[in-house]
Symmetry: C2
Subunit: 658 residues, 2 copies
């Protein structure tokens, strides 16, 4: 073990094991998680050893192999979809596994299908007698579902739907597992009966033969080619030409086309939102917080091993984590990883509560849940994407090597800003909810508890008198609350001014969207700070954990004020002099947290295999590992024809005409 990293672990101000159990939820959860990781990592089929050297084709083949093997493994281990181990499997596999869209296929049938449809299709899917996908997005259509162009025309004579891709922009594009694997898909299309359009509906369509995997008649499908990441996934395209499916294949929990062409709708359609809400909340933890924790682990461990330049003349070169600028890059990202881990738990609880209410047919929480899942999906993916980039850049040249593990974390997390709702559009949905609540609250109407603060907007000044006052959660929470409320109310006022001056409602909305998005961010930022501060109070004071979490909470909050100073200074709530105090307290926290930086990332408990990083391993043997791994690269193991073809003739002056 590298002594430069060993020494960092001897001075931890808290128990790493205790913190780990707190993060996992209990020591028992830690035990189960570790058992799953152990079982996965000791199985050579799941190895990611050569991942950085593989082509897109090889990554896809590995992902399919792993997905198929996983079925076997789960049987062997006795893991089930409802068991306590299940949620750790994906984390342990660390990504490259196929058939994720097969699960979405199943989920959509479970939620949107009739009992009969569920009874028919779910067993087939569970036993992998077919492979499913989920075809919603089209070449020309993403977020705006109503704009989808694929058509499904009901043919009363044959009792079939005829599906078509009327033009190129209507081609399904992006669905995972569809490019090369899927045999079936749930395709969304505009339903037409007797020439009348009834809007977008989901249909089960077979696309490949179950016998020989050839494309079915009328189907054109394939892979959409290379992407910035997700090399393992066969995101696909799909074109439909007069593809006929039986009437029974339209998912019909909420509506149905009867044999005579009568369209019947029943039940609430609102529940459709709930699927998206559930997906957004679950992706935050798996696809966003895990990567940012990994990036922090890699960058912080590397920063205590890397020595560069001297802090004082005559001394040894300093660990780069001893430079204020390096601390200021990495430690706020570490604090954010903890902050978002906690808000993710909070969102999950909110969701579970909402789900229980919905099962009781109470849909009151849906708007708040939708607004929360949208806004937090947007700010967390944005914040964490930027955090991973900061970690990558903070590792200099070696961070830029794929072998550091950071580039692939970055290119993957970046996609989370785009998929499952483009972030700007999501923020504007949150903003719409906030403006509504603000108007309601101003009119004395009841609003959900999380937004009651919007009613209490008033001018005021921050009471802090010295820099230590800014280590009080009451002081900074109030600053965040005040600022979020001010941004919401001032944007509401601008909206009102515009419409009162004769601007049409939609134009007025468009002209306020930059400020609306900012207000939504401020709201989510406030809730995150508040939730962190409240979580810290609940921690038992044992084992030093509360103390270090309080430091991280302070750092997260003050970093936010320091980095967004304008919105806090704007109305004088915080004065310039107070901002200097914020800055001082913020910078003072850096060397304090720096002392525990390595134990704080050790508590995330990623194995070396799971990090797959030459820079981030537990033992800190960075340079040896970079050298060993580089030697395995195909750029060294495969002879290049470049010498014989180009270099030799050049050097020996045997190039024609030269």
């Amino acid at each position: 073990i590298n002594p430069d990293i060993a020494s960092e672990r001897q001075t931890a101000s808290f128990s790493v094991e205790k913190l780990m159990a707190w993060l996992d939820g209990s020591a028992e959860h830690t035990r189960i998680r570790r058992a799953v990781v152990e079982a996965i990592e000791c199985d050579p089929v799941f190895s990611r050893e050569n991942q950085y050297f593989q082509s897109q084709n090889e990554r896809y083949e590995e992902a399919v192999k792993k997905a198929v093997h996983l079925q076997k493994k789960m049987q062997e281990m006795g893991w089930t979809e409802n068991g306590p181990e299940y949620k750790y499997i994906y984390r342990a596999l660390a990504g490259d596994v196929a058939f994720l869209l097969h699960r979405v296929f199943m989920r959509s049938i479970s939620m949107l299908g009739s009992d009969k449809q569920v009874a028919k299709w779910i067993p087939l899917a569970t036993q992998y007698q077919l492979i499913g996908s989920y075809a919603q997005t089209e070449l020309g259509h993403g977020t705006y579902l109503q704009g989808l162009e694929t058509t499904a025309v009901f043919d009363i004579t044959t009792q079939e739907f005829i599906l078509n891709t009327p033009k190129i922009s209507a081609m399904k594009w992006w669905p995972g597992d569809m490019g090369r694997s899927a045999t079936h898909t749930v395709a969304f299309a505009q339903l037409y009966i007797h020439g009348k359009c009834y809007g977008v509906h989901p249909f089960i369509v077979q696309i490949r033969s179950l016998q020989d995997h050839s494309l079915c008649p009328g189907i054109t499908a394939g892979d959409i080619g290379p992407k910035m990441s997700f090399e393992h996934a066969d995101n696909g395209f799909l074109m439909l030409q007069n593809v006929r499916i039986p009437r029974e294949n339209m998912l019909s929990k909420f509506c149905e086309v009867q044999p005579d062409g009568t369209y019947v709708r029943w039940g609430s359609q609102k529940i459709n939102y709930f699927t998206m809400t559930s997906v957004r909340i679950s992706l935050i933890s798996d696809e966003v917080i895990t990567p940012v924790m990994k990036a922090c682990t890699i960058a912080i461990r590397y920063s205590v091993v890397r020595r560069q330049s001297k802090l004082k003349p005559g001394e040894q070169e300093a660990k780069i984590l001893d430079y204020q600028t390096q601390q200021e890059k990495l430690l706020p990202q570490l604090a954010a990883a903890y902050a978002f881990h906690l808000i993710s738990n909070y969102l999950q609880e909110l969701f579970d509560r909402g789900y229980r209410e919905i099962q009781r047919k109470n849909f009151d929480m849906l708007p708040e849940l939708h607004a929360f899942s949208s806004g937090f999906k947007a700010i967390i993916t944005q914040y964490c994407t930027s955090a991973v980039e900061i970690c990558l850049r903070a590792c200099g040249g070696h961070g830029y090597s794929l072998l550091s593990g950071l580039p692939s974390l970055y290119t993957k997390i970046l996609a989370s800003c785009i998929y499952e709702g483009e972030n700007t559009i999501l923020l504007l949905q949150t903003a719409r909810f906030l403006i509504k609540c603000f108007m309601a609250a101003s009119a004395g109407q009841p609003v959900p508890p999380s937004v009651t603060y919007l009613a209490a907007v008033k001018p005021g000044k921050c009471p802090a008198k010295n820099k230590l006052d800014f280590l009080s959660p009451d002081i900074y929470m109030e600053a965040y609350r005040h600022t979020a409320a001010r941004l919401v109310s001032s944007t509401a006022a601008k909206l009102q001014d515009l419409t009162q001056s004769g601007v049409k409602k939609h134009d007025a909305w468009n002209q306020c969207t930059v400020q609306l998005a900012r207000a939504a961010k401020a709201h989510c930022h406030y809730i995150t700070v508040k939730n962190f501060a409240e979580a810290v109070v609940k921690i038992e004071t044992q084992a030093g954990i509360q103390k270090i979490m309080k430091h991280l909470c302070d750092l997260f909050a003050l970093h936010g004020i320091f980095s967004n100073a304008g919105i806090f200074l704007h109305d004088g709530y915080i004065s310039g002099t107070q901002m200097d105090m914020v800055t001082a307290s913020y910078l003072d926290l850096l060397p304090v947290i720096r002392k525990d930086a390595v134990p704080l990332v050790d508590a995330f408990d990623f194995t070396d295999k799971s990090l797959n990083s030459a820079l981030g391993s537990y033992d800190g043997q960075v340079y040896q590992r970079l050298y060993e791994w580089a030697q395995k690269s195909p750029t060294n193991t495969q002879m290049s024809p470049a010498y014989e073809r180009y270099l030799k003739p050049l050097l020996h002056k045997k190039l024609s005409k030269l």
Copy 2:
């Protein structure tokens, strides 16, 4: 041509051809540039058609092929290194070409070698009788040159230097062209004579046989493996074990080891800085501004073709560039591309002036040039990297496809933040210069003209009375100047307070580095705004160019204030009410510039081949191109064994033990 993009070109408020000539320097330059591009693009050897589908090995082989072919092409076309065509070749090739480090090898010999060494090596290199590289960075050492660990011990008995890599962290790591191509390199090593260390010196070392390209005795070398980009470059590693080179191979323009071991130094060493300065200034235009212009072209063209959701009910889906949030993402990046293009010209002129002075043995401008090239390299690379990321994300899912061209622009420009000096370290060098000048100016001593403003720090208030006042360059330039000066002076005061309270000088510096970096950024930002505003005044008022450039300058300046509101509000120079005016003027500019957005990127004059983007082509046929290109992907053209091996047994239930 897509009518949605055609209509954008009919309403240009200025002449695209005239703007192009202004950007190029003259219509004659435009003509020459186009001729070079034409000659390169019609040559199939230089095609980049399959680039997004190639492996690292294939990219390397293509790059070598192109570099070798380029020699022939230049002869054919009569292009020379000093001709007017030369600077357009690299832009036309658009990156993937080998032997860039061969040029650095030659440049370092020209600048650091004695006349005799130049006479021996330069002809060999020019005629490619050898292939050179440049080996400075080590596994454990980047920016801090004094820390290099490679040793060169003078052996008086044989009149040789013995080069060694004493430990793994001393291994040369990253040098381009070294992994598989180079036969020679300039290696930097600590010089030892009679056991005494004389510091880092450059040595010419042969690493591969000129006969068969095998590694020379004592040499271990290879490729460092996959990186986030630069797949075409064979960045390499190099280990030296008792490698002997003749005494004549130490580059000795400024110092020499004589046969008896006497070390002699002469001339100024300052000139070494000048090489770095020159490299930093030239990379800004080739590696940073060109990519950001390309990214803007792609994202803006796509944003007038992509329609999504409705601005008004009942209407057609809107072009996404008609949304305020999309304008606010892209148009400031477009303005920045113009701003940095202009500052890059300014830096080049400053450099040329400095170079003329140096030829007259006047080194007075060196500190300012070093500070400028460092600071601007840092802020421009950082700003433009973020700009390309914004463009990528603004294109949603399709931006994330490699076929958009945006991911490869992003992963490449990101490296510019790291190479040729890590940005934080560069900003701190600029800050050191600014603090020195501030102290000198405060003491009434003379300082370079660009920083005289630091002497005139005084409290004050922005005189703007309404939002239109913020369209006056005098108003916003003064705000930038005031803020930059305030940040420099307040950080100087903090430094002084700390040292006066007994903190050691080096600790005090470290404790101020976050603020020092910020002051350096503010300085560069001010100079960029000032230079833009001054350039606008000089434009002839013809053809609408001055007017649209004035809009872009205003947008760049106001976007900077809007996005960094905190530093302008901090001391009350700009009040909250005035910040609302800034915001209003800033948002008002967006729809104005939006009208000219497509002509403004057309003026960058990138060919479709050069953009290599399915989203950004001139004709706006986005979806057709995405589909055509995807079909050529190896994920579609190569049969995958995954079906036979894994999917078929799964679907047919023939998996063992399942």
